[in-house]
Symmetry: C2
Subunit: 340 residues, 2 copies
Amino acid sequence: MLTASRRLTLLGLGALAVVPSYQARAADQPLPSWRDTAARQAIIRFVQETTDRSSPGFVAEGERIATFDQDGTLWVEHPMYSQVIYCLDRVPAVVRAKPELAHIEPFKTVLSGNRAAMAKLSMHDLEKLLFATLTGMSTDEFASEVAKWLASAKDPRWHRPFTDLTYLPMIELLQYLRANGYKSYIVTGGGQDFVRVYAQQAYGIPPEQVVGTAGAVGYRYAKDGRPVLIKEPKLLLNDDNAGKAEGIHFMIGRRPYLAFGNSVDDREMLEYTKAGDGARLALLLLHDDVRREYAYGRAQGLPASKVGTFAQALYDEATKHGWVIVSMKNDWERAFAFEQ
Amino acid sequence: MLTASRRLTLLGLGALAVVPSYQARAADQPLPSWRDTAARQAIIRFVQETTDRSSPGFVAEGERIATFDQDGTLWVEHPMYSQVIYCLDRVPAVVRAKPELAHIEPFKTVLSGNRAAMAKLSMHDLEKLLFATLTGMSTDEFASEVAKWLASAKDPRWHRPFTDLTYLPMIELLQYLRANGYKSYIVTGGGQDFVRVYAQQAYGIPPEQVVGTAGAVGYRYAKDGRPVLIKEPKLLLNDDNAGKAEGIHFMIGRRPYLAFGNSVDDREMLEYTKAGDGARLALLLLHDDVRREYAYGRAQGLPASKVGTFAQALYDEATKHGWVIVSMKNDWERAFAFEQ
């Protein structure tokens, strides 16, 4: 029997099926962009085990929680987080509003456009950039700026909107989980307010299911008397490493049954998930596909001391505790919806 | 036509219908424990306006968010928050674990059982009690202690479990909203971890829809190597007053369409809700029912300077901005499920 998307292709309407609807092809093949390898089979087995009422691993529908890292797990993070590009792109507007910044570091270096000099900015300088571009405005103004930027900004390699750089197999996984009663959360080191702007459209994940690094907001009254929330330069939740497990407790209050990450930043989230009773699935995405995307971290074959985000120690822990390593090169038939 | 619960009553099975299922009687009468006054009509009109696709106030299902204060709005808060009673009840166990505390204030006073002396404890002493009884253990241990306490503790007036003291009309309102595609959150000054223990059973509200005052948790490894989250004496979110609006942004990321409170602690939540575009409903519960519950705050007829939690200024703001005042005495036919 032809699947819905195959039929559309035969009709010359392939574009309509770029993101295949899981509902339409569930019966014959969930996760169509995944190769039928051990990784795909582990996912399908886990979902069957936790949703089949007669299985010892059955989980009631309201308790089916899954958590996903974003950068490098749901979309491209290399060579630079898109939120950092957003902050750099915002610098000219910040300097227009406060011209005295033009002669002060790190703004001077960013305005110079000298990428090599920018790469050498200190952590302290980067923080100044983040505070200047991500705080001081109302939450509504910020959301509207981000939406405007997303509509026009292009990534430097594919020359596409950043939201095109989501991984098709991951979108399919989110759909598959949703169709099976799972509520999926993004748990990201990126900015919570930033990711919430596009998570619904990009992933089908509503704002309340985005947990991220978050600053305080202050309740104020605008001139017309209406209340506004102003983004303040004060960190409330640092949602990386142990902060991911802590943030999951704080924002969700339940231990996930499935967690998916790609770097040492996700280690505690994966440990915390896997340490729960019953069936739990921890997955790690390995960026080993230099042709379709990038190869970095462990996949570069570097010595353990230099493997960057996908550290050897994490790989060893994954192997020891039965986390599933997903190879972009071997386990995915297709990485992006825009691939031919 | 007989409603489902009326039929059960006639069959002598009234107890089964103590909390009427909205689904069973929706067609003929939503909110059966509410009198058909302006308050009930305002709620029904609001729900119709926001769920009728042809109405200018229509709200897409995923965006239908409602927020509820807990203490004094969903259940009895007078004369003392039940979480404070929990903390006082926990003191003997805390002192058993650390006997040196028996001779130190405020533990000495609490152990004496002298209510008059306890009522005079300073804010600083109360904080010490909160930290001693609410932190230092794992989140799992804490949840299990609270569950144990809830199963045996009785309130001093009705001699019933505290979870019996939820207001039946509010349970019906939560059911009515749920049946109409609304996602309801508790937004409480009480402890987030405390309320999450019983919110699902008491209100049908899952842990991830409870926003409350929250302390930090720390990711640690237990002796067997399993990760645990330890509750730390460090405040992360003070979910009262402006903190309620800020907490709503932080935890939910959307402005509610309906908010329900009962005190000045809820003022900013109600203002923030009502300030949104389109149809928004803000409600305030007035405790003016000395027979069935209590009369306090403004309802006591005290001068403005002494009205306590339901301040005159709040009442004036409510009147000015079209918030709906719900009178427990006049708008509710029945307050508790256990009433005859």
